[in-house]
Amino acid sequence: MSYPNPYQILGLCLAVLVLLVVLRKERPEMALVLSLATGVLLFLYLLAPLGQAFRILRDLGARAGVGAEPLGIVLKIVGLAYLAELGSSLARDAGESALAAKVELLAKVTMVVVSAPLIAGVAETLAGILR
């Protein structure tokens, strides 16, 4: 099991925080790029442990008899949520909360479309019980 060193991550965050506070007053657009880069980098660090967590989930799902397809849909939705959060929080930091709201709305609608097979399956099961 490998995971990023929490002390290194925290140190990086603190250093970037100081730089951001200094930069945001002078050059807000540079602060925006710096915060974007830090967010992306932290997400890249997160990917390795996240992959391990997904492997555990797949393993548990296989033991419980859950097929690979529903689990894949759930993972897709988790990925969409992470990406949307990255974009919308960045926009909100830059003071563009309207754009952030649109990004979140887009992500929600995409999630509904992606999860359509699951919703259809639930509806079918319910109809079968009621009949």
Partner: protein
């Protein structure tokens, strides 16, 4: 730790641009100061876009999006 050097590069570019901007503004060359700011942002975005590309490829592989 890998990848962190891009953070220091970006912070350096930002501070450099801020200093050059204020010097040029003091010298009365406002339009040149604006161009320096724009150039700094463009260079910073070019640095970040590789990182974003890497992130998107990883996310696509992991989540199956």
């Amino acid at each position: 730790m890998w990848g962190a050097e891009i953070i220091w590069q970006l912070a350096g570019i930002g501070i450099l641009v801020a200093v050059i901007y204020s010097v040029l503004k003091q010298a009365g060359r406002d339009e040149l100061a604006w161009v320096v700011t724009l150039g700094g942002v463009a260079v910073a975005l070019l640095l970040v876009i590789r990182l974003i590309n890497e992130l998107f490829q990883n996310v696509r592989a992991m989540f199956g999006l």
